[in-house]
C-alpha cells in the first residue's frame, strides 16, 4: 500500500471534456488511444480558458504543461512526456513520480519520451526544469488516474470510494478481501468515458508519505546500456539506409563560390546534393560517403569572411562590441569613499560540451511524411525547424528522440536533423548523418565566453558598501549577488559573439560565480577576514548558509585554511541558481606550473530529494565536468579557424584528473524538489582559483585557471 486512498477525492464530472489541444501535434485522441491499445487515458492539460473562466492561472499554465498516463488492459502503465533522457535521469525520475501516485514500484512504469507524435510538448529539456515542472505534471496526471481507478473499483465492489485501497497495482476492498488489478479495472471501461482532464486540485502524495520518490532508484533501462542493446540516435538503422556527410567551410563565415559535384562519382554509389548553401553527399557506407565528400571538397573554392577575430583578441573584441558600451559604475561616489576597493576584470573562455555522442540524425520520408530520429534537448523545436525548412505542417513531421549520449545544454539545436532530411529527400532513401568530433568541436555551439568587470568597496569594518558587476556576453544566469550589500547592481550586457554560442550546463552561472566568488575572496583578503566568515557576514539566505556550514565542517576548513604552504592551498566558494544552493571547498597541489586538484568537498541542496542515487551521480558529474573548463578547456581559434578540434588538443577531464570527492546532499523535505543536474557545477572553478591564491598569493582571474603564461598551460 503506497497511498492512503481516503485522503483523495476521485475525479468526477469532467469525463467528457476534451483536452485544450490535440496531443502530439495533430494526432486525434481516438487515434492516440488506438495506438496504445484500449485503456484509460488521462490528459494532463489545463482546460481551455473558456471552460474555466474563474480559475486563476497558477504556475505558468500556458497550456503546454502536459503529460499523459495510460493504463493498459494488461495493467501496463505508460507515461508520455516530451522530455528527453540524455543520462541526466529524467526517465527514472518521471517513472518514480507516476509510480508514487499509482501505488506501484517505479519499474512498473514505462515512459514514452520525446516522440512528437506520441508525447505532449513539455518544452526544452533544459534549465533544470524537468524536476520542478514535469515531475509535478506527471504526478498530477498519475494522481488523477489513481482517483479514476478508485472510482472504478468502488463501482465494481459496490462500496464507497473512500473504502478502496490501492496496493501494488491492485485495488482492494479490505472489508470483503476482494481485489482487482488495474488492468481488469480499466479493461471494461476503456476509452471515452475515462479520458478526463486532470482536476486542478488533485491531491498528490505528501513528501512524508513518499514510498517510491525519495528512495534510491536505479536507472531505468540500465541493462540495455551494459549489453549494447540500447539504440542511440547514431545507432538507428533503417532499411536501405545511406550514410550522409555535409560539406563544411574551411573557416567561420566562409562562402562557397564554386564546386564540382560530379567529383563525388569517385566514390561508389555516392550521391551529391546541393541545395542552397547546403552541400552534402550520401553513400551506402560511411567510408564511401567520406571519400565522396573528400573528392568534392577538393574542388571547392571559398570566399573567406574578412577579419574574423582570433581567441587571442577575443576579450577585447567582446568588450568593444558590448551593446550600448560597458555601463559605468553608478556607485562611483560610494566607491571613492570606500576604505578599501576592488576593481578587477575576469575572463571566461569559450568551451565545448563535447558530449560523447556527437550530433546524429536519421531521416526517412514516407508518402510526404518526414520522420527523424535525433539527439536533441528540444524535440518540438526540432520539429518546427524541419517544418519550416521543408514547408511542412506539424502532422507531416515526426521527431523521435531515443535516449542519447549526453547533451549538457549542447543539443538544443540538433543540426544534423535538417542535413539528414535534405539528403534523404534527394536520395529517396533514409539517411544517417553523424557528425565527426572535429565537426562537433567546430560547428556545434560553445558556452559563451565572458568578460566580467567587478568594482566593490569596503568600509573600515570590512563590510561591503557597494558592488557593481557587469557580465559582457555570457549571460544573466546567477548574475545577481546573493550577498547583502547596501548599494548593489549586477548587469548582463550582450555583445557580438564571433563564434556560434548557446546553452551549456548552468550557462552563465558558472562565469558569474567564478567572478563573484573570486572577487569575494579578494575582498575578504582586503578586509583581513577569513573567506568563510566574510561570506557569512554578508549572507541572509538560510539555505546557502546551511550548505556553507556543512562544507566548512566536513572539509575542516578552519584548520586547513590556517596552514600556509606554497605547494598546497585550499579555497572556498558558494552560490545559488535555479532554486538550489551549493558550496564547495577545494584543495590544490602546485608544482611549478602544474596545478592539480586533490580534494573537492561539496554540499548541495535542491529541496526534497527525488532519487538519491541519481542525485549523487549528477553532483559528482557536475564537479568533474566542471574541472575541465576550470583547468584546461578552452576553444582556440585563429581568424575563424578552430585550432584544437580534437580530444588530443582539447583536454576534457579523464580518470587521472579525478580528485578525492566528498559530496554531502542536504535533503529538504519541505522544499519543492528542483533540478540538480546543473548548479553543482558553479562552485568548483572559483574554489580552485581561491585555493591557488591561498597557496601562491597569485590571483588568477581567467578560466581556465593556468599557472603558466598564456598558451603554455596544457
Amino acid at each position: 500500500m503506497t497511498t492512503d486512498s481516503t485522503a483523495h477525492t476521485p475525479t468526477d464530472g469532467q469525463a467528457g471534456d476534451e483536452p485544450a489541444a490535440e496531443p502530439g501535434g495533430g494526432m486525434t485522441r481516438r487515434a492516440f488511444v488506438q495506438w496504445l491499445g484500449a485503456g484509460l487515458l488521462v490528459t494532463v492539460a489545463p482546460l481551455p480558458a473558456a471552460a474555466q473562466p474563474r480559475r486563476p492561472r497558477g504556475g505558468g499554465g500556458t497550456g503546454k504543461i502536459a503529460a499523459r498516463v495510460h493504463i493498459g488492459k494488461d495493467g501496463t502503465i505508460t507515461v508520455m512526456t516530451g522530455k528527453v533522457e540524455a543520462g541526466q535521469g529524467a526517465r527514472t525520475e518521471l517513472a518514480q513520480a507516476a509510480a508514487e501516485e499509482l501505488g506501484v514500484p517505479a519499474d512498473r512504469v514505462q515512459l514514452i519520451m520525446a516522440d512528437t507524435d506520441r508525447a505532449p510538448d513539455d518544452g526544452v529539456t533544459a534549465g533544470s526544469r524537468s524536476t520542478p515542472s514535469t515531475v509535478p505534471a506527471v504526478r498530477q496526471g498519475a494522481a488523477a488516474a489513481r482517483d479514476v481507478l478508485i472510482q472504478l473499483a468502488a463501482a465494481r465492489f459496490a462500496i464507497d470510494a473512500r473504502g478502496v485501497r490501492l496496493a501494488d497495482g491492485k485495488a482492494i476492498d479490505p472489508a470483503s478481501g476482494r481485489q482487482a488489478d488495474y488492468g481488469e479495472l480499466v479493461g471494461e471501461n476503456s476509452d471515452v468515458p475515462f479520458a478526463a482532464a486532470v482536476p486542478p486540485g488533485v491531491t498528490v502524495t505528501a513528501v512524508k508519505e513518499w514510498k517510491v520518490m525519495g528512495r534510491p532508484t536505479p536507472r531505468a533501462g540500465r541493462r540495455d546500456l551494459v549489453t549494447g542493446a540500447h539504440r542511440y540516435p547514431s545507432d538507428i538503422q533503417r532499411p536501405g539506409m545511406l550514410y550522409g556527410k555535409a560539406l563544411r567551410p574551411p573557416a567561420y563565415g566562409a562562402r562557397l563560390k564554386s564546386i564540382d559535384m560530379e567529383a563525388a562519382k569517385a566514390a561508389k554509389d555516392a550521391l551529391a546534393v546541393r541545395d542552397g548553401a547546403f552541400v552534402g553527399v550520401a553513400a551506402p557506407t560511411l567510408r564511401a560517403a567520406e571519400q565522396a565528400l573528400d573528392a568534392i571538397s577538393r574542388t571547392a573554392a571559398w570566399e573567406e569572411a574578412p577579419a574574423l577575430p582570433s581567441s587571442a583578441e577575443l576579450y577585447d573584441h567582446l568588450r568593444r562590441h558590448a551593446r550600448g558600451g560597458v555601463p559605468a559604475n553608478p556607485f562611483a561616489d560610494e566607491l571613492a569613499k570606500a576604505d578599501k576597493k576592488l576593481t578587477a576584470t575576469y575572463h571566461v573562455a569559450y568551451v565545448q560540451h563535447a558530449p560523447m555522442e556527437p550530433r546524429a540524425a536519421v531521416a526517412e520520408w514516407n508518402d510526404g511524411k518526414l520522420t527523424v530520429w535525433t539527439g536533441t534537448q528540444n524535440p518540438f523545436g526540432a520539429r518546427g525547424e524541419l517544418m519550416s525548412a521543408f514547408g511542412l505542417g506539424a502532422d507531416k513531421v515526426r521527431v523521435i528522440v531515443p535516449d542519447f549520449g549526453g547533451g549538457f545544454g549542447g543539443k538544443h539545436q540538433p543540426d544534423a536533423h535538417i542535413e539528414a532530411a535534405r539528403l534523404a529527400k534527394a536520395a529517396g532513401r533514409p539517411v544517417l548523418v553523424r557528425w565527426t568530433r572535429a565537426e562537433e568541436f567546430t560547428w556545434a555551439y560553445y558556452r559563451p565566453a565572458a568578460v566580467i568587470d567587478v568594482q566593490a568597496g569596503l568600509d573600515a569594518q570590512g563590510t561591503l558598501t557597494s558592488w557593481h558587476f557587469v557580465n559582457v556576453n555570457s549571460g544573466g544566469a546567477a548574475v545577481e549577488s546573493p550577498y547583502r550589500i547596501a548599494k548593489s547592481r549586477s548587469q548582463y550586457v550582450p555583445s557580438a559573439s564571433p563564434m556560434r554560442q548557446g546553452s551549456y550546463r548552468c550557462l552563465a552561472a558558472t562565469a558569474n560565480n567564478f567572478a563573484r566568488e573570486s572577487a569575494m575572496d579578494e575582498l575578504a583578503v582586503a578586509a583581513g577576514a577569513d573567506p568563510l566568515d566574510f561570506r557569512r557576514a554578508h549572507l541572509d539566505n538560510p539555505r546557502l548558509k546551511a550548505v556553507l556550514k556543512t562544507v566548512a565542517e566536513k572539509f575542516n576548513w578552519a584548520a586547513r585554511s590556517g596552514k600556509k604552504d606554497p605547494r598546497l592551498g585550499v579555497g572556498l566558494a558558494c552560490g545559488t541558481e535555479k532554486g538550489s544552493v551549493v558550496a564547495a571547498c577545494a584543495e590544490v597541489a602546485i608544482e611549478g606550473d602544474r596545478l592539480t586538484v586533490r580534494h573537492v568537498c561539496e554540499a548541495f541542496e535542491c529541496g526534497a530529494i527525488v532519487n538519491p542515487t541519481n542525485l549523487l551521480s549528477q553532483v559528482a558529474g557536475c564537479i568533474l565536468m566542471g574541472l575541465g573548463p576550470a583547468l584546461r578547456e578552452e576553444m582556440q581559434f585563429e581568424k575563424g579557424r578552430v585550432l584544437n578540434a580534437t580530444f588530443w588538443k582539447y583536454g576534457v577531464p579523464r580518470f587521472t584528473d579525478v580528485p578525492e570527492l566528498d559530496i554531502h546532499l542536504l535533503n529538504q523535505p519541505d522544499q519543492t524538489p528542483v533540478g540538480a543536474g546543473e548548479t553543482p557545477i558553479i562552485a568548483i572553478a572559483p574554489a580552485i582559483a581561491n585555493a591557488v591564491f591561498h597557496a601562491t598569493g597569485r590571483r588568477i582571474r581567467t578560466m581556465p585557471i593556468r599557472l603558466a603564461a598564456e598558451g603554455k598551460g596544457y
Partner: protein, 157 residues
C-alpha cells in the same frame, strides 16, 4: 580494391568483402549491425569504440578491417551468455556506472581486457588502463567502483 576478410565475431565466423582500410568499427556497425561499439572521436582518444581482438582491448575506429583477418573479435553484444551477464557488466549495473551509457560498452570491454591480464589490479593499474576512455557524463567514480567490484573474487564483496 576490395578484399575479402574472414574473422570471428562474438564466436561466429563472418566474411566481408570491402575496402581493406575501412575501420573495423564501421564494418561492425554497418555490415553486422553490431552498434554496441560507439563512435566518439575516430582519433583513438576516447575509447568509445573499444572491442576485444584476440582478448586485447583495441580502438576499432583506428583498426583497418584487414588487420583483423583471421582474428577473433568480441563486442559488447557478445559478452553475456544468453540472459546471463558477464561479471563486469553485472558490476557496472551494481555500481550505477552508466549515466547516458554511451561510454559504457568501451569501458566494460576495456575492463574485461584489463582483468584478463591483471586479475587483481591496483587503483593505479585501473586508472592507467582506463585513462584513454572518456566519460563526458563524468561518472568516473562509479566506473572505478565497478571495476574494483569486478576485480574482486565473488564472495569477497
Amino acid at each position: 580494391m576490395d578484399a575479402t576478410i574472414l574473422l570471428t565475431v562474438n564466436g561466429k565466423q563472418r566474411k566481408v568483402t570491402t575496402d581493406p582500410q575501412r575501420p573495423l568499427l564501421d564494418v561492425l556497425r554497418e555490415e553486422f549491425q553490431l552498434t554496441g561499439a560507439k563512435f566518439g572521436c575516430g582519433e583513438g582518444r576516447c575509447g568509445a569504440c573499444t572491442v576485444l581482438v584476440n582478448g586485447q582491448a583495441v580502438h576499432s575506429c583506428l583498426t583497418p578491417i584487414a588487420n583483423v583477418q583471421g582474428k577473433s573479435v568480441v563486442t559488447i553484444e557478445g559478452l553475456a551468455t544468453g540472459e546471463k551477464l558477464h561479471p563486469v557488466q553485472e558490476a557496472f549495473l551494481a555500481e550505477e556506472a552508466s549515466q547516458c551509457g554511451y561510454c559504457t560498452p568501451g569501458m566494460v570491454l576495456a575492463t574485461v581486457g584489463l582483468l584478463a591480464r591483471t586479475p587483481q589490479p591496483t587503483d593505479e593499474q585501473i586508472v592507467a588502463a582506463l585513462d584513454g576512455h572518456l566519460c563526458r557524463c563524468c561518472g568516473y567514480t562509479n566506473i572505478l567502483k565497478a571495476v574494483r567490484r569486478a576485480a574482486q573474487p565473488a564472495g569477497r564483496g
